[in-house]
């Protein structure tokens, strides 16, 4: 992640990706691309947003900084503190709870020796409790990065975490 120029993040590939989103909306509605843009810069920045990054999004989309901060704090996918290289999002809502997500969360916390919201010492993982992710028939489940892992057991969880770089 050291190659990211956080003072000039919207350039090259990042700029191209944002521009592709902009092309989806009417030309006078640049603000529509704010969520996708924040998702892209968050990803490039290693998983969280900073004020200086949000300010650049504001400038690029011709928005006031405050309206970008509002969006960035309203939606739960945006992070304002560093997260692990892999953000483990474990669903603890009703269908997952009925099939053991609380026990799985305890297992995960013990295994990684961190609490919800913390990052492991090696920076590899962080744990987040999330609301229903829309995979309830395969509960319990979690999302890591862009992938859903479903029908979890402690053993499956071990295998999945071991398989990640």
């Amino acid at each position: 992640m050291s190659s990211v120029d956080t003072l000039n993040i919207i350039q090259g590939d990042v700029k191209k990706r944002i521009d592709r989103w902009l092309a989806r909306y009417p030309v006078d509605q640049k603000q529509s691309a704010v969520i996708p843009s924040l998702r892209i810069v968050q990803e490039v920045n290693g998983g969280h947003l900073t004020k200086e990054i949000m300010d650049q999004v504001a400038q690029y989309l011709e928005m006031t900084p405050i309206s970008v901060y509002e969006v960035a704090t309203f939606y739960s996918n945006f992070e304002h503190q560093p997260v692990g290289r892999h953000k483990i999002c474990l669903c603890t809502n009703i269908s997952c709870m009925l099939r053991g997500s609380d026990e799985l969360l305890d297992y995960l916390k013990t295994k990684l020796d961190v609490d919800v919201g913390q990052v492991t010492e090696d920076g590899k993982f962080s744990i987040k409790k999330v609301e229903c992710l829309g995979a309830c028939v395969n509960a319990p489940m979690m999302q890591i990065d862009k992938t859903f892992y479903e029908n979890l057991t402690e053993q499956r969880l071990d295998e999945i975490l071991d398989s990640l770089e």
């Binding site: 691309a33 996708p36 939606y75 009703i94 028939v137």
Partner: protein
């Protein structure tokens, strides 16, 4: 035997079901071609959809044909068709599998809907966590463009239709249709005051129709096989098949597409029955926002709007959450009250404050610190939200509280009196 997968999931079993070639081999895009050739007029389509008795699958059950007739196709200016794939109601995961396994049927449905209401642009709002469905759907759009099914002057018809995806970023409230529009506009997802309704003031202030994924994906089959075919699959007043997400304490939890009106008992057997040989205790039939029902009521109902309403709940999005006889209802309600507290957008005082109150009181009871008056407090607070808020989330937050207390008050009392659940030895 219940016949499965007659409409939205009809292709899901096929190899590479998400590819355009597979879809076309199953008759896909035929209806769209008929529409473009003028064989089917917008009015004929609306009439057929009315005959089909298709009711909105997003949760409210509003008749789709009627909704479309609110739009004036010939009014000047841009109009929009928006698909609601936010799918965030706890217990709901049916739309995900439409986008993963049958995305072209949704595209065809959106294109037809856009044509009917006079919208040359459409957006599919997909919840931000759904990467695989997003990738499948986006790729399907590209395939449809290459095949000449989307774009400008489609198949020489003179009609343009441009379709795009939009991604959310984690907010249940964005499933509410006006919050969803705000979200596409790049704002916080806070619902708008209504009226004006989206049909007159929608996306970017333009006339807009918003439908659920399953609703729109049903359209091509309704027009291919006839509104009558669809209507007859269901019951009077609610046609078709319906997708049910069967989650919770089941042997075979999964999404099942079955005819509307199928007995709950049959659906339960399809899902392998209650797991571990246990007894059924309770069922939430339509997603977390619908009232919980005790086993006897659930076992006597059929899976359609009227029958579930008679049992005391709502079909909602068809998200059936099954609970076995060892379920702690206080803990379950604690989780649900937390959810609404966590997801309230904060605009209306009764919802913002009420959801917090309800959560804290249920949590206190669950921690064994409940007070005798807490049950009355809960009933009082839940009763004061309904009807005093801008959107359905506030009402929805009150429903679990009221219904859990209606049917399982003794479990709450036990916690208050003994400091522990009915399963613990005091």
């Amino acid at each position: 035997m219940v016949e499965l997968n007659l409409c939205c999931y009809r292709n899901n079993h096929l190899d590479k079901s998400w590819d355009i070639d597979t879809y076309i081999s199953q008759g896909g895009y035929q209806v769209w071609k008929q529409v473009l050739s003028g064989e089917l007029t917008p009015q004929e389509i609306i009439d057929e959809v009315k005959v089909s008795n298709l009711r909105g699958r997003g949760g409210a059950g509003f008749p789709t044909g009627l909704k479309w007739s609110f739009m004036n196709r010939h009014s000047p200016g841009q109009k929009y068709i928006v698909c609601n794939s936010d799918e965030s109601e706890p217990g709901t995961c049916k739309d995900r599998d439409i986008m993963r396994y049958n995305p072209h049927q949704l595209i065809e449905g959106m294109a037809i809907a856009g044509y009917v209401i006079g919208a040359s642009v459409g957006y599919n709002y997909i919840r931000g966590e759904f990467w695989e469905p997003y990738d499948r759907f986006t790729r399907a759009i590209m395939q449809a463009r290459e095949a000449g099914m989307l774009g400008n002057n489609i198949l020489g018809s003179g009609w343009d239709f441009d379709l795009n995806t939009h991604q959310g970023a984690g907010a249940y409230i964005c499933g509410e249709e006006t919050a969803l529009l705000e979200s596409i506009e790049g704002k916080k997802g806070q619902p708008r005051f209504k009226p004006p309704f989206p049909a007159s003031y929608g996306l970017y202030g333009k006339p807009t129709t918003i439908n659920n994924t399953e609703t729109l994906a049903s359209i091509p089959m309704i027009l291919a096989k006839g509104g009558d075919w669809f209507a007859k699959l269901g019951v009077p007043g609610a046609g078709g098949t319906k997708l049910f997400s069967m989650s919770g304490h089941l042997e075979k939890p999964a999404n099942y597409e079955i005819p509307m009106g199928t007995p709950f008992k049959d659906l339960l057997s399809l899902a392998g029955g209650v797991w571990k040989g246990r007894e059924l205790k309770a069922v939430i039939p339509g997603g977390s926002s619908t009232a919980v029902l005790p086993a006897d009521k659930a076992l006597a109902m059929n899976m359609d709007y009227d029958s579930i309403a008679k049992a005391g709940s709502f079909l909602g999005a068809g998200s059936v959450i099954v609970m076995d006889d060892q379920t702690d209802m206080v803990k379950s309600l604690e989780r649900l009250t937390w959810f609404y507290y966590d997801e309230s957008c904060g605009q209306c005082t009764p919802c913002r404050e009420g959801t917090g109150w309800m959560y804290r009181v249920v949590k206190r009871i669950r921690q064994g610190k409940g007070r005798p008056e807490d049950i009355e407090t809960l009933k009082d607070v839940s009763g004061k939200i309904t009807g005093r808020v801008i959107c359905g989330l506030g009402d929805a937050a009150a429903i679990p509280v009221a219904s859990f207390l209606q049917h399982f008050e003794h479990e709450f009392r036990h916690y208050i009196d003994h400091g522990c659940s009915i399963f613990d030895r005091a």
